[in-house]
């Protein structure tokens, strides 16, 4: 697949691709006004707000720990991004995380020799769940909302069966190091958590993936599956792979969470909705076809910053979820406004010349950035 296939299906086709024009500063400014870019501003504002009420938070060692603990949800959000941008939903994420956490606790136990087999097993389970979700959605034509709801319930039942609904013991410490430990004695930040390294690696891999033919196809498929199919894409396989990426992301998040938190059946609860919220906050359009991978990750950071902000504000525990919910709605609404504001200049400006073929857009990988 090349960009030629995906470009015609973009709404901006036939018109200029304004995001790729102008100087770097202009492009950055324009990008910041799109929902995918606005989330970075939102995250920055929240960060400033948090540091303002609690200066300790800005210390590099604390900051890197914060990034480390946000890594699982950011990874989950990026996984969810693939599914959402291809036009589907994945509700099974939290259940996948819980399953992986319980597998780690039950299978590894205190046996060091089982760490590697367990990792293989967990990735395998993740891939199979994604495959089931994908094939159910594409070949059986069941809406993904229902398929993944089904896998969510099925996995939830499995977890209850394996644990009786209660915590089992934690796995051996070497396994937990992945999510809990880090490289010690790093200058400035003291410790570099492994979870941060894994997050950066997954981000880099994700950006590369979204610039590859597969990435282009996935956006095209989300935007218009029929057109993508006519253009030669195997829509069912593209979507299935998106689901597998999502489940595998949930698996990685689960591995990190076992280390960070330990084994409990409630680990991962609500992650699917946090991930979807992060993706939406990142300006990714529900229904597919538009949005930037790293905006989803930024959405996750904005969410976690919001939660920390509320912790620091000592909002009362009983109605904290209400405050969170209202702020999320406002944030998404604001992002929507930013989108329309970001488009306004293009209405008044004369139609630009067609983009030169030498500077193709990179749908899904940038919002007219850097």
């Amino acid at each position: 697949m090349s960009t030629a296939t995906s470009t015609p299906s973009r709404p901006s086709a036939g018109r200029a691709l304004p995001l790729t024009e102008g100087s770097l500063v202009q492009r950055l400014l324009r990008g910041a006004l799109t929902p995918g870019g606005a989330v970075f501003i939102l995250a920055a504002v929240l960060f400033v707000a948090v540091v303002a009420i609690n200066p300790n938070f800005g210390d590099p060692p604390q900051l890197i720990r914060f990034i480390g603990r946000t890594a699982p949800i950011a990874i989950a959000a990026m996984g969810q991004y693939y599914v959402i941008v291809s036009g589907e939903f994945d509700l099974s994420m939290g259940a996948v995380i819980a399953t992986q956490v319980v597998i780690a606790g039950n299978y590894i136990g205190q046996d060091e020799g089982r760490v590697l087999p367990a990792l293989v097993l967990m990735l395998l389970v993740g891939a199979v769940v994604g495959l089931v979700n994908g094939l159910g959605t594409t070949l059986l034509k069941v809406p993904s909302f229902i398929v993944t709801l089904g896998t969510m319930l099925a996995l939830g039942g499995l977890v209850r069966y394996l644990t009786g609904g209660a915590a089992t013991g934690n796995p051996v410490d070497t396994f937990r190091e992945i999510g809990r430990g880090g490289i010690q004695d790093v200058p400035v930040i003291e410790v570099l958590p492994y979870s941060v390294i894994i997050l950066v690696a997954i981000m880099a891999g994700g950006v590369w993936l979204m610039r590859s033919p597969f990435g282009r196809t996935i956006i095209a498929t989300g935007d218009n599956p029929d057109a993508a199919g006519l253009a030669g894409a195997h829509v069912w396989w593209v979507k299935t792979r998106a689901f597998m990426l999502s489940s595998l992301s949930a698996t990685v998040a689960g591995i990190l969470l076992v280390g960070y938190a330990g084994v409990h059946p409630s680990v991962g609860a609500g992650y699917e909705f946090q991930a979807i919220t992060a993706v939406v906050l990142g300006g990714v359009v529900l229904g597919g076809g538009r949005g930037w991978l790293l905006s989803a990750a930024a959405g996750a950071f904005a969410l976690e910053l919001l939660f920390s902000f509320l912790n620091f504000q000592e909002v009362e525990s009983t109605w904290r979820p209400t405050v969170q919910g209202v702020i999320i709605i406002l944030a998404v609404a604001a992002a929507g406004r930013a989108w329309s504001l970001g488009r306004r200049p293009s209405r008044t400006s004369p139609p630009a010349a067609p983009a030169p073929p030498s500077t193709p857009a990179h749908p899904g990988t940038e919002t007219g950035e850097k």
Binding site: N54, N56, F57, Q62, R65, R69, G156, R160, G164, G165, A166, A167, T168, G169, N170, R180, L257, Y260, A261, G262, H264, P265, S266, V267, A269, F307, S308, N311, F312, E314, E316, S317, T318, W319, R320
Partner: protein, 416 residues
């Protein structure tokens, strides 16, 4: 503190709502250790009828029950301390001569759930006790129905037992206080012995109601320990499972009162026992400033709380957890100043032993209050040694050391 100003009406309403949700669909809420003094005067519905305006912190607080449990902590218990599951505080006894029987009877057990490690441990112990009594020819069989934390299911379970169970006695561990009252009364009307344990119901028709001292006693033990080991003005983070469940609320109500009176600053969080949330809350609090103490309304997740301090590089807090092995082990390993409050897990043996007495025609306490003594640092090593090889979710005061299958059955932790 502003958190108190907000409460009042909204909090009452939301607490009740959440309570309903919690009992209706709780899959992971370790309503664990529950109810203490679930006597009728503290049940949720009645509380809600009180004027919410004066509500504030007082919604779940009941001075009379608080005082009673305060006294019971130092009360003298009848019976041999070697068998704490048979001890009781002297009081009204039920005459059971009418139930005297020479043949083995069938027990029917309506269980709320086994969805947390505390209930699982107790359930294992109960099954081993059952085996012992079956060998003695006291009980022929026990039919158990697990309500899965659902009031409606449990009502149906009890009604099934009444109409088709062919039961010679009922054992009921209620899922919630008010909702189960009518069903328990229907069981009483059959004229067969009814033993209620753990959480209570709003009726005294049961032959015996078995429970440890209660939630206020837990709150008093833990909060007094923290006050003794902290200075005025110190900060305590209170980790709570969820709002609206009376038994957990009573633990917190007692503790919060004591913190207030002694100038300890307490911030509470609802964690759902999710270790991720626990770690996040504590890390954020540590970011804000020093924390000198951690209080928990149930020990589930205690290890995550300690790890948050370790990962942050902060001094370990003075802390109260529970007698769950994971906490006892982490407590010893880190050497922090701590206390393990106990919601006596051995109470799961008592209902079957009560049936033995009832069918023998011996009198049993109408309200069978079992001892509830926290594990202190001095006793910790003994309990760790006694429970060596037990899994992390095991409870030190499970009280089944003399039963068949000890210790393998508990070590394997195969849920029957």
């Amino acid at each position: 503190m502003r958190r108190k100003i907000h409460r009042a009406p909204i909090a009452v309403a939301s607490a009740l709502l959440l309570g309903v949700v919690a009992t209706a669909c709780s899959t992971e809420d370790p309503t664990d250790t529950d109810s203490g003094s679930e006597s009728s005067e503290t049940s949720a519905p009645e509380e809600s009828e009180e004027s919410p305006a004066e509500g504030g912190e007082q919604e779940w607080f009941d001075q009379a029950v608080y005082d009673e449990q305060y006294e019971q902590r130092s009360a003298t218990f009848e019976g041999d301390p070697e068998t704490p599951y048979l001890q009781y505080i002297d009081g009204e006894m039920t005459d059971t001569s009418e139930y005297k029987s020479n043949k083995a009877g069938k027990a029917c057990f309506a269980n709320a759930s086994i969805s947390n490690p505390w209930r699982q441990t107790g359930w294992i112990t109960m099954n081993q006790q059952l085996k012992a009594l079956q060998e003695e020819g006291v009980i022929s069989e026990m039919e158990t129905r697990d309500a899965g934390d659902d009031d409606n299911t449990q009502i149906a379970d009890i009604d099934y037992f009444i109409s088709e169970g062919n039961c010679d006695a009922f054992i009921i561990s209620p899922n919630s206080t008010a909702a189960m009252t009518d069903a328990v009364e229907r069981a009483c009307e059959t004229g067969k012995p009814v033993v209620v344990f753990d959480r209570g119901v709003n009726t005294d028709c049961a032959t015996s109601f078995i429970h440890p001292i209660g939630g206020f006693a837990w709150g008093i033990d833990t909060a007094e320990f923290l006050v003794d080991n902290l200075e005025e003005g110190d900060k305590v983070v209170a980790l709570r499972i969820l709002p609206g469940v009376d038994v957990l609320e009573q633990r917190w109500a007692a503790a919060e009162k004591i913190f207030d009176e002694n100038g300890i600053e307490a911030v509470d969080f609802f964690t759902g026992a999710d270790p991720t949330e626990i770690k996040t809350f504590i890390t954020d609090e540590l970011n804000k400033g020093e924390i000198q103490g951690v209080w928990m309304d149930a020990g589930d997740g205690a290890v995550a709380a300690i790890e948050a301090f370790e990962d942050f590089g902060a001094d370990l807090p003075v802390m109260t957890g529970e007698d769950e092995m994971s906490f006892l082990r982490k407590w010893e390993e880190t050497g922090l100043t701590g206390l393990a409050p106990v919601y006596s897990n051995f109470q799961w043996r008592t209902p079957l032993l009560a049936l033995q007495k009832i069918w023998a025609g011996e009198e049993v306490p109408k309200e069978w209050v079992l001892p509830q003594t926290p594990i202190t640092e001095d006793e910790r090593a003994d309990y760790l040694e006694a429970n060596d090889g037990m899994p992390d979710g095991h409870y030190a005061k499970f009280g089944g050391e003399d039963l068949v299958g000890y210790p393998e059955v508990w070590q394997e932790r195969q849920i029957p």
